[in-house]
């Protein structure tokens, strides 16, 4: 395990992402609601640049008391990274696929100290 300083904290805007190349590894350092998350920028589906896609809240179905469908809503508490190749959606905080928890992004520990961002690979 090696800790690598990848950038200054100010290099990544809120809701932004920075793609860093550490040797042959391409890592997306994602900033979301003040926290940092780091994933291999490689979708487990077909290898798409998953960290570079749009972010969308989880879509949930609202049911009535009779269990009938009422409407859809965005669950703003769970935001997804969406792979731009095929729309595979992953929880931005965990890297777990929205529909199949066995499918996950490769996640790396990330921390912020003294204005710098570090990723451990």
């Amino acid at each position: 395990m090696t800790e690598v300083q990848v950038c200054k904290a100010s290099d990544i805007a809120e809701d932004g992402v920075l793609i860093v190349h550490i040797d042959d590894l391409e890592v997306g350092v994602v900033r979301h609601r003040g926290a940092y998350f780091a994933y291999r920028n490689h979708c487990p589906h077909q290898g798409g640049p998953v960290c570079e896609g749009v972010r969308m809240p989880k879509v949930v179905a609202v049911l009535g008391p009779d269990r009938g469908y009422v409407r859809s809503e965005f669950d703003e508490s769970e935001v997804h990274l969406v792979c731009p190749w095929h729309s595979y959606e992953f929880n931005i905080e965990t890297g777990v696929h929205a529909g199949d928890s066995k499918v996950r992004l490769q996640k790396f520990p990330v921390s912020e100290r003294d204005g710098n961002v570090y990723v451990t690979i």
Partner: protein, 408 residues
């Protein structure tokens, strides 16, 4: 004398309706009340404002992304293939910068082909696949022929790496025959394509001379999967595009393939090669088993057949995309075996559509040997279409660089 040039006039409503205003004055309409009980506005001009009033936040977001009309959410087709902004490459393609020459379609095609490692590609239209459903036969024929001519003259004639199976206006059998006669020998034309949602039966005797013309030239006949949603009874029960796409893109090919076999067309046109496009592969084991099982009891209903249906199916060709590969480590190898994929499967990407597949979907399969991978990725198509192998420039450069590196 008052002289006015209409071209100089404002195109506004008062100018257009000046004579109506004259009528109103002449008839002294000011003396009584007039009520118009049916008039219209074009509310789509205010669509972003209207969308903001949708209560459901997910539908509101969908509406803002898609707008009104086109082939989208609010159209009779009801489609929203690009997943409401989650996939942006089709949108971005319209603003991608290209040089003035060669034709933009050539430049854009070669860019993705080089990136994926594809050397030769068979190009199909996107919205014009929907010509199959338009109500006017003359429009389908006129647009289909215009598209074919345009593609042959502007794209195929100028880029040997791009081929096409041209559009057949299947609603009009005579026009299909004329299309094959007119374009069948043009450079770059490697076959002809029917959009599978045509509501015409493939066994109609009116098509026999078209099949004969294709067979004689050695040109394959392809059926390209598609869907109908809002205007078709069965799929109007679906309330999500995922349902329509999952079933529709396979259903119509299943129907035509079954009709093709049960009417013994493989026996009647034994050298005509059939290709089934964009239905994936998972439907094939189902259909083979189902048809064989029925055939053993109902042999009398299909007297032209000399073998089980699955045996004819094993001699047809199938494109790979969208290849189902979700936790199916046992099902996929069996599927490959059942369809004799080593010789009958043709790699396809469907780029740039939302469910495109890369060559790695084939190349990374652990149960295929290197020769079979290469057959599926290229050699099967080369033999089927009698292609001259042309490699992409970038691949030739990489090969030369590797040769240099290996030189002592």
């Amino acid at each position: 004398m008052l002289v006015r040039n209409p071209q100089d006039a404002e195109k506004d409503t008062p100018t257009l309706l000046a004579h109506a205003a004259e009528q109103a004055r002449a008839r002294k309409y000011e003396d009584f009340l007039i009520v118009d009980v049916d008039c219209h506005h074009y509310e789509n001009a205010s669509f972003p404002e209207i969308a903001a009033y949708i209560d459901d936040p997910v539908l509101r977001q969908n509406a803002k992304v898609q707008g009104m009309g086109g082939q989208g959410w609010t159209s009779p087709e009801g489609s929203y293939q690009e997943l409401n902004g989650r996939i942006g490459r089709v949108r971005d393609r319209f603003t991608e910068k290209t040089p003035s020459s060669p034709h933009r379609d050539i430049t854009l095609s070669l860019r993705w082909m080089d990136a994926l490692g594809v050397d030769i590609a068979c190009l199909f239209p996107t919205p014009m696949l929907g010509l199959a459903q338009i109500p006017r036969l003359d429009v389908e024929i006129a647009l289909g022929r215009a598209y074919n001519r345009w593609l042959v003259e502007n794209v195929l004639a100028n880029e040997p790496r791009i081929k096409a199976m041209l559009y057949l206006p299947f609603n009009q059998p005579e026009a299909c025959y004329a299309m094959v006669e007119e374009f069948g020998d043009k450079p770059g034309v490697v076959g002809f394509m029917v959009t599978a949602t045509h509501q015409r039966a493939v066994y109609d005797n009116a098509y026999m001379k078209t099949y004969a013309a294709l067979e004689e030239r050695g040109l394959p006949l392809a059926f390209h999967g598609s869907f109908i949603w809002g205007r078709e009874n069965n799929f109007s029960l679906a309330n999500r595009f995922i349902t329509v796409h999952s079933l529709g893109f396979t259903f119509y090919n299943m129907l035509h393939l079954t009709n093709w076999i049960m009417n013994a067309l493989p026996e009647r046109f034994p050298k005509l090669k059939l290709i089934w496009i964009e239905s994936g592969l998972a439907w094939l084991p189902f259909l083979m088993q189902r048809l064989d099982n029925e055939f053993m009891s109902r042999t009398s209903e299909c007297p032209g057949l000399k073998r089980r249906p699955s045996e004819y199916m094993r001699e047809m060709y199938y494109t790979s995309q969208p290849m189902e590969r979700v936790d199916n480590a046992e099902a996929l190898p069996l599927t490959f075996k059942m369809i004799n994929a080593a010789t009958q499967l043709l790699f396809s990407s469907d780029y740039p559509h939302w469910d495109m597949d890369l060559p790695s979907t084939i190349y990374d399969l652990p149960f295929l040997d290197e020769t079979t991978k290469r057959n599926i990725l290229g050699e099967n198509a080369r033999h089927l279409f009698n292609l001259e192998p042309i490699f992409g420039e970038q691949k030739l450069l990489r090969r030369a660089e590797r040769a240099l590196q290996n030189t002592p």
